[in-house]
């Protein structure tokens, strides 16, 4: 069913993007040693995910996608429980996290909102200051302000050289934090992107509207332009231009009567959604423009 291969360099933040049921959580389960791969293996720090599960956990923090905290405990008891299991005695990191996420953990877990439980899970995942982290949908249930705080915190951790696997379907948090992103679909890695390439892409897309139908016909007939899409009724045209050709592009534009011109910003979201709309290869995906 599943055939997923990827590696994460030390100190790298790796995004794991895909729709529900794509196999993100299953992959993390294997890395954590909860399940044994039918084929192949997972390795963390050179240790086998299944055989050495307990040894791997020493250097690892895990934030489960589904927040199901143990019953009958208070938040404080849960933190103490996790600290004891991890053998953590120095609580400075825990205190720092509680402050950062503005969490007051003394209440009963049963009565806590999803957001509070999520914060508790974040605290216990990072409390032992692990070198490696596996975060599954880390911000679901957090309010927008806390999502920002979390992104800020992940960037802090990244600064300290942590290796992070971040599984998510929230584009802006992946875009903001990850060095590389793998897109997973139906149990397969269908695309791998270096985020910097996206940020500094030199192929840009412009959308413009012409004054009238004559201009539209004249414009679409111009062979020097890389026209991607044209709508005659709306008199709108979408054009793809490499940064190197930008001067020539404006020179050509000056010969037409335009209503407006705007750049179509390329976002990961569009890229991702398009990927799921159609069966696309990596090359096509990066080259895509029009909707």
């Amino acid at each position: 069913m599943f055939d997923v291969s990827f590696y994460i360099e030390e100190g790298e933040v790796f995004g794991f993007l895909g729709p529900n049921g794509a196999g993100k959580t299953t992959t993390i389960r294997h890395i954590m040693g909860f399940s044994k791969p039918e084929k192949g293996s997972t390795t963390v720090d050179g240790m086998d995910g299944w055989r050495d599960a307990d040894r791997i956990q020493k250097e690892m923090g895990y934030l489960p996608g589904e927040i199901a905290l143990p019953a009958n405990l208070t938040g404080t008891q849960f933190i103490r429980y996790m600290a004891e299991l991890r053998g953590v005695t120095d609580m400075t990191k825990t205190e720092y996290l509680l402050n950062k996420f503005e969490l007051e953990p003394s209440g009963r877990l049963k009565r806590m909102s999803l957001g509070m439980k999520r914060k508790l899970a974040i605290v216990t995942a990072f409390m032992h200051d692990p070198r490696i982290l596996a975060l599954d949908e880390p911000t679901s249930g957090l309010d927008p302000v806390m999502q920002e705080t979390f992104i800020e915190f992940v960037l802090e951790e990244k600064q300290q050289g942590k290796t992070i696997l971040l599984s998510s379907h929230v584009f802006n948090e992946v875009e903001a934090t990850c060095d590389r992103i793998a897109i997973i679909k139906e149990g397969r890695v269908v695309s791998e992107i270096v985020t910097d390439d996206l940020r500094h892409r030199q192929d840009k897309v412009y959308k413009l509207e012409l004054l009238d139908d004559d201009e539209f016909v004249r414009f679409t007939g111009d062979t020097r332009l890389g026209i991607i899409a044209a709508h005659r009724e709306k008199l709108q045209v979408t054009v793809g231009i490499h940064d190197n050709d930008i001067n020539e592009f404006f020179f050509i534009l000056s010969q037409f009567h335009l209503k407006y011109l705007k750049e179509e910003k390329f976002t990961l979201e569009e890229y991702f959604l398009d990927f799921y709309d159609r069966e696309k290869t990596v090359a096509e995906g990066v080259g895509r423009v029009a909707r």
Binding site: R29, M32, L73, Y81
Partner: protein, 462 residues
């Protein structure tokens, strides 16, 4: 191998149900023991003695009339097993399957604790909590029984033995072991009769029957067979000179004379079997008529025959209805009252060792049940599947066990029930039960070992 945090987390999650079940079972045992009244029980049995129900039940009546008998039918029976199993089944499911199903197991396993340590600790909690539950039930129960009946440690003495020992200025044990001391001393005899609240005539009949009982018990010990069985058919005594000597010793008789007497008695018993049945019917008729005369229910009168015996008017009515003359009727009633007293003595007797063995057997049974539930809990990832097997199977066993007692047709069902390995009747009768206990123990070990292995190797959907 063992993790303290995991253990305490298990305690915190499950102690409420543990406390409830332990308190309920302990209270059940203590209250039954505290309110058990041996004399009421023996009159109760007496009231039923001539009914078809009693004939059906056979000597089970005697067995279950005692305090231990009552306990086996409640605390060690269906009700007690139900309560204990609720804890065992729910906790076994909650420890593993429910944590996996809910996903909270992920937190425990995302720490440097080995999976085998987690599961071993949880198994330890389950076993330890069940053992502690039974230690408390057994301990509190034993203390209650001791306070109320003094039957557990030290020896109980009947009221007449205590009174007579005082008059005779002898040790109670000495008097209890040799009732001829009472029958041969007029002062001690009248003190004993008073202490028991009996007329001299009934008390005298009682002493004879009690000595016979002691003699049979002495012979039974020599023969190595249950006294109750020997009392029904004393003929095996004759086959063993040592048994004859033991029995004769109790009665302070010459073995030869005793043997002759016993032979005569056996012959008489054989001859008078039919006659005895007739007398029983006659007595019932007489009792019914007398009860009507006295304005009592038959059972009430049967419970206290002195009401009849001390009322000449009632005796006349009973005599007429039973077609027995008053003297014969008086004799028969005296014998029945004496034998009631003997059964009341039996109810005072509490077999402490059997009680201990029952607690142990119950514990072993519950551990085996916990093994089934724990294996189910370790095998399935969904709580509902774990409960379907881990609770369904034990409760099915319990139902099968109950059904098997309904009638002979359904009796073979007991071979499909685990509960059959905890046989309270065998324990009470002193029959062999060690193999069943060993089987339960071995089964428990196998189930737990298997459960731990399964959990260590399986894929978890966390």
């Amino acid at each position: 191998m063992f993790s303290r945090p995991v253990f305490w987390q298990s305690v915190r999650s499950h102690y409420v149900l543990w406390v409830i079940c332990t308190v309920v079972l302990t209270a059940l045992l203590s209250l039954i023991s505290a309110f058990h009244d041996p004399s009421v029980m023996s009159s109760f049995m007496e009231a039923f003695e001539d009914t078809p129900m009693a004939a059906e039940a056979g000597d089970q009546f005697e067995l279950f009339g005692s305090l231990l008998g009552i306990i086996t039918q409640t605390v060690f029976g269906f009700a007690g097993m139900m309560i204990a199993m609720v804890y065992v089944v729910v906790t076994a499911n909650g420890l593993v399957a429910s944590e996996v199903d809910r996903g909270s197991m992920a937190y425990t396993l995302s720490t440097p604790i080995k999976r085998s340590t987690v599961i071993f600790t949880k198994a330890t909690y389950l076993i330890a909590s069940i053992v502690l539950m039974f230690v408390i039930i057994g301990g509190v129960g034993a203390v209650t029984i001791q306070i109320k009946h003094h039957g557990l440690w030290g020896t109980t003495y009947t009221a007449d033995v205590k009174a007579a020992a005082k008059i005779l200025d002898r040790d109670r044990a000495e008097v209890a072991a040799d009732l001829t001391l009472i029958s041969e001393d007029p002062q001690a005899f009248s003190a004993g009769a008073r202490a028991r609240g009996l007329t001299p005539m009934v008390y005298s009949a009682y002493l004879v029957q009690a000595m016979q009982r002691d003699a049979t018990a002495a012979a039974a010990e020599v023969l190595g067979m249950p006294a109750a069985e020997l009392a029904k058919d004393p003929s095996p005594i004759l086959d063993d000179p040592e048994a004859v000597a033991a029995a004769a010793g109790v009665l302070k008789q010459d073995p030869v004379a005793f043997r002759a007497q016993l032979e005569e008695m056996l012959a008489q018993m054989e001859a008078s079997k039919a006659e005895q049945a007739i007398i029983e019917t006659q007595l019932t008729d007489g009792l019914t008529a007398a009860a009507k005369h006295l304005g009592l229910r038959t059972a009430e009168l049967a419970a206290d025959l002195s009401l009849l015996k001390d009322d000449s008017g009632a005796m006349a009515v009973a005599s007429e209805a039973s077609t027995m003359d008053v003297l014969t009727l008086d004799y028969v009633i005296t014998q029945v009252m004496a034998s009631n007293e003997v059964s009341a003595d039996l109810a005072v007797d509490f077999d402490a060792f059997a009680f201990l063995m029952m607690i142990l057997g119950f514990l072993l049974l519950m551990l085996a049940v916990s093994g089934i539930s724990f294996l189910a809990s370790c095998t399935f990832n969904l709580s509902k599947h774990s409960l379907a097997l881990g609770a369904g199977l034990p409760f099915a066993f319990l139902i099968l066990n109950l059904l098997s007692t309904v009638n002979d047709t359904l009796e073979p069902l007991k071979f499909f029930s685990l509960m059959t390995l905890f046989d309270t009747e065998r324990i009470m009768r002193g029959l062999l039960y060690a193999p069943q206990f060993v089987a339960l123990g071995v089964l428990t070990v196998i189930l737990y070992v298997f459960a731990i292995r399964v959990f260590k190797r399986k894929d978890l959907p966390l």
